[in-house]
Symmetry: C2
Subunit: 220 residues, 2 copies
DNA sequence: TGACAATACAGACATATGTCTGCTTAACTG
DNA sequence: CAGTTAAGCAGACATATGTCTGTATTGTCA
């Protein structure tokens, strides 16, 4: 893939003057490693060696170590495939794959999670958090910047605080609304003047499924 | 992280009846591996062992091999950290880490990408696509559901079509607007009646940096 | 109850992979 | 020209990591 066809440039003791010239082999090594990291499989030193036609493992390692020294890469010494992106700690903080659900039928959240339509990579959730993702239908939350077709990422929880945007189950359907707790009433407040709030008495046929922690929209 | 505190359940010859019971250790192993893969660092067998408190490497390996047999995972035999997601039709499509940029100064896109503030896991981009992410400032795009503080994920490109939402560089700052191409004019159209469109002659001091392909918002 | 399957464990082994030391060539410097 | 630095090479070594063999425990099922 990133193999260098022009092997002549790699002959022993090849010239190289200015320490910081642009567009050099080192930049290509960095690009190669980034690509492998993006693909989810960090390369080994020997894989870099082969990709660039080096005759010695050490040649590849020197470039990798130099990239670490320059701050373009980071590594976990001693670990196999230990080179990764520099950001704090690891490549990215706790990334998790959360299930993307289809339609949530009455009482069927558990079943829906068992049989997801796909998976989304999400950052941030704590270790024990139960997460899922839903596609928004309807325009009731456009005032909060949540449009039809948007994906909401939800942390599973049975309760929520006043003002938080939640996924609630009303009758047979899951709906996204802002939660309002007022004097013994539970209100699901749309963010669109064209829609009316839904008012419930506590412990009625309404159930909180979780709290929206992120909104995503693909612009195809 | 995913360590199981309840070690008693892991004693030798622990019970386990139905082959396909739900919510078992095996599912947790799968979730653990998925998370590690999403984070860009495939786990070793021994890391799985430690995360679950197994006393033997083989116990972890059996679960991993079983997951491969069930089609939930794939592996490259012999390779270090060789477990990965099944190729096509698998749970997660091509996930990619894209750099999250800070402020983009004049002409400094390349430099900004060199020195990112962090990395975001993004799904979908094609192999060759050059991607980056930016934080939106200002309320000029609220009508399109893009609020201040939102993160836009951008595919690097020099041109765009009429109607697409783009990141353009005007003077010293990068800005997110909808692109309008009208009879020899380039218009950057806000989606907020309180803001006025920016009109340029072609090939002036405006430069397209890329096209917005996704919008994300964290609700802390 | 006895065969069988599923799970766990212990320990060894083979390979993959990071790391080190020493040598060589070429370009730049003074 | 001698000294220095950058880059590459060769080979060995140490560790990380996948894999195999054999054993033990427990529940299921005929």
């Amino acid at each position: 893939m990133a193999r260098r066809p022009n092997q002549s440039r790699l002959n022993s003791g090849r010239p190289k003057a200015t320490p910081r010239a642009r567009g050099t082999i080192r930049d290509e090594v960095l690009a190669f490693v980034r690509g492998r990291l993006a693909a989810g499989s960090p390369p080994t030193v020997r894989e870099v060696q082969q990709a660039f036609g080096f005759k010695a493992v050490e040649s590849a390692r020197q470039h990798l170590e130099a990239l670490v020294a320059e701050g373009h890469l980071a590594k976990s010494p001693g670990r196999a495939r230990g080179y990764h992106l520099p950001a704090a700690g690891g490549p990215a903080p706790s990334i998790r794959l959360v299930p993307q659900l289809g339609r949530v039928q009455a009482g069927g959240l558990r079943e829906a999670i068992e049989d997801p339509e796909g998976w989304l990579a999400v950052e941030g959730p704590a270790a024990g958090d139960e997460m899922f993702a839903l596609t928004v239908r309807g325009e009731s939350m456009t005032g909060a910047g949540i449009l039809p077709g948007d994906t909401v990422i939800v942390r599973r929880q049975d309760t929520a605080r006043d003002g938080e945007i939640v996924v609630a189950q009303v009758r047979d359907e899951a709906t996204v609304k802002r939660l309002r707790l007022r004097e013994g009433q539970v209100v699901l407040q749309p963010e669109n003047p064209a829609f009316a709030p839904l008012v419930f008495a506590p412990d009625t046929e309404i159930r909180i499924l979780g709290r929206v922690v992120e909104v995503r929209r693909r612009l195809a």
